[in-house]
Symmetry: C2
Subunit: 460 residues, 2 copies
């Protein structure tokens, strides 16, 4: 057999033309979204004020396995996709493992991460519906950048509410978003009632993601023809991100491999869900039995220590309720936590699959262990990973070392979601030895759990 290449990049013709919807193959579907006031399941139409209609339909569809990717979306995908599936030969050699380590690299586009995969269709459907603009929030900036790129392409106005602390600390992220023509507003701001109210109480606040979400939603719902969009957690986002896994499946067919272990970092869960989608499909259909691991920070342990409960998707408590693993929408991650993966909850699809045992394991790591893996990986494989992605690297290394002990030639696939270019402050604190670890005590987690809503007829 020919040697497996370092990087396999499918041709344009080999790129999947459809997204795959995991829910279609789940015998037990994720619990429905519910109205927080009434506890009633949300209907598609209820989502129209927030999402454009095709995205609302995707959000609610538990039955259709494949959705055609619109031609216009494929045309943009082709500017940066298919992304490479790399064989980490040098990491294998360094570790002395018999395992075959593969990673799917999503950092080779200007947004620097996989976020663009969902930003493009979200902007496309908004444009197609004739909307006049979009709003969103961004913390570290990957999602804001991705959506600004997509909106620039379709000529769609975009307002990004960026957490003021990040806005001030990451001026270059801000400038990239500005380069793509989006309005970028430091949140809290005086452009919304909620922002003005927060500023009145605390003029010096550096803001929060929850506040930025609330401002973005207010701006959307009070502006004519404007909708709010989200970059993770939602079913529609998992659907779009399935392009990652479908490309892996196609590439692995060509080289004659199949993952024994699938590993993804999990913040909102969209990257993990996208990466494992076709392999989880095989498992749900009883055709294969890969082992799946979700990796999260020890400081924000929604799957490993959270509750499977109905909760708000945002800290502002304006969204419908989703049943998911959650630390409670009132949970605030420790300030010492350097990377992303700060979300209090988890994709309802991923949560359900974990709850039902299809997603085998959730594992958490402390951040210094994660950065050790990141620096090793950079030196050996020449790619500087984002801290989020490095959670998956850490886990892949540990699994490969376990294979070294047992002598098993397992095939390990992990998602390398993005570049670490914009996280050098975190790398710096790691190099300087000032980075610390933090594992919340049960008492630290209690206020978050106390914030869980009572849902009439469901959670009393």
């Amino acid at each position: 057999m020919a040697k497996i290449p370092h990087r396999l990049i499918l041709t344009e013709d080999q790129m999947p033309k459809q997204w795959y919807n995991l829910r279609a193959d789940m015998k037990e579907k994720p619990d429905p979204l519910r109205n927080p006031a009434t506890g009633e399941p949300v209907k598609k139409e209820d989502l129209y004020p927030i999402f454009c209609e095709e995205l609302a339909a995707q959000e609610m569809d538990n039955d259709t396995p494949y959705f055609d990717i619109p031609e216009e979306v494929l045309d943009i995908y082709k500017m940066y996709r298919p992304s490479p599936l790399n064989r980490a030969y040098d990491l294998e050699r360094y570790l002395g493992t018999p395992a075959h380590i593969y990673f799917k690299y999503e950092g080779n586009n200007t947004s620097g991460s996989h976020k663009l995969n969902s930003a493009v269709p979200q902007a496309y459907y908004a444009k197609k519906q004739g909307l006049k603009g979009l709003t969103t929030e961004t913390g570290a900036g990957q999602w804001g950048t991705a959506l600004a790129e997509a909106c620039a392409f379709f000529g769609l106005p975009l307002t990004v509410y960026m957490v003021k602390g990040s806005y001030q600390q990451k001026p270059y992220r801000r400038e990239i978003i500005r380069t793509f023509g989006a309005d970028i507003v430091a949140s809290p701001s005086d452009t919304t009632a909620v922002g003005r109210s927060i500023l009145a109480k605390d003029p010096d606040t550096t803001g929060s993601l929850g506040c930025a979400i609330s401002e973005a939603i207010e701006k959307a719902t009070t502006s004519d023809g404007v909708r709010y969009v989200l970059g993770s957690v939602l079913n529609q986002v998992l659907l779009h991100q399935s392009i990652i896994g479908l490309e892996c499946e196609e590439a692995m067919k060509i080289i004659g491999e199949y993952p024994d272990i699938g590993i993804g970092c999990a913040g909102g869960g969209a990257n993990l869900g996208g990466l494992i989608a076709p392999f989880m499909r095989d498992k749900l259909r009883g055709e294969r039995d890969p082992y799946f691991i979700a990796v999260e920070p020890a400081s924000c342990p929604s799957m490993t220590r959270g509750r499977y409960a109905y909760d708000f998707c945002d800290t502002g408590k304006v969204t419908p309720l989703a049943r998911m693993y959650t630390l409670g929408s009132g949970f605030i991650p420790s300030a010492n936590h350097a990377g992303g993966l700060r979300y209090h909850g988890m994709s309802p699809v991923i949560s359900k699959l974990y709850h039902d045992g299809y997603l085998n394991e959730a594992r958490s790591y402390e951040q210094t262990k994660v950065f050790e893996a990141a620096v090793l990986f950079a030196k050996v494989e020449t790619i500087l990973p984002a801290p989020e992605s490095a959670h998956a690297i850490r886990c892949a290394i540990d699994e490969a070392l376990r294979c070294k002990e047992t002598g098993e030639e397992k095939v390990i696939l992990f998602g390398l979601t993005g570049t670490g270019y914009f996280d050098m402050a975190a790398y710096s604190s790691f190099h300087d030895g000032t980075m610390t670890d933090y594992i919340p005590t049960d008492a630290d987690l209690q206020p978050g759990f106390d914030s869980l809503p009572k849902v009439p007829g469901v959670q009393e």
Copy 2:
């Protein structure tokens, strides 16, 4: 015929296994390097104290057309190469031009630019010769990052002298270099005699590239088994960068195109020389007649307004003399100039080809025009270009618009050498309207010309 893809990425098997040496096909060779004291041509052995032996041999070889790329170098190339050849369909559509616009994108590796293509073999040959370490200088940081990556891979110690102003203004660049395990020293420093002497005179200086070069050379020549390496200008670097052009040639064969116009930005000339290498070969052999354009900043116009003369390669005047287009080693680019492309001279090969008319045109642009093109390109093609690369984009757009006027369906190929991630301060000043243009007067250029050396028997 099948539609030409948005991105054509060769397979590993299709990647060239040899570099191409333009000089072998030049009937008139570039003038030899000369000893500044005696005016005598430099011999290969004279370079051994500076370069490792195989690199010195490559530097002096005017006859061998193809050099095998070592297996170990190919193995690293395969971690990020072949790089994509993109068809800029959306830019063509935006401009309404009948031209076919192609660009070769070298920004998809952690160093963020084409520099890695030469860093890898330079580190490899140093390791092979049993050297104990390397030194280099870096200004903006692309070359320092690339060499740090390559040295990390081969386990070769590296000291990077980074201009103090950049070291302070670009802490994240510094941290990337540090992540790859290199020592990084703000220049001037107290680690060298020349550094200490400069600091004694001016303790608050923010340094200069010339000073950093002098420190790096002193450190190499006073340390056992250590050599100094350079990222552009030299013949060996052009040789390594030919991988860019050779991949273009192979990809264009597959899609049945051939460039009518080849465009590259030109600082030291290595990227331009690498991009056009195989097409220039065809021209030198009389088989084809593509039109080549070198693009440079109006504020550092070495080809458009420089002299074709013998000059030092560094501002510290410690190198041999090369005959090239130069503004004089005493030339200092205006502080308002935002990007790279600040070198006072130009690759001797590129200079000779321009002098003899094979390289058809040198063109300069003011930087605001360049950034206009960069922002347009980012919005339309989703890639944020480095300011250096955007010089080539500006020129490609102008040529495509000329085709629109004449109705010619020309094939335009330009080099997109790197990502703009690390240049957001410049983008910011462009957005804010504070970026200014600067065209030096003849009087401004005079001091540089006055710094040109007298060469015994050559330039009196």
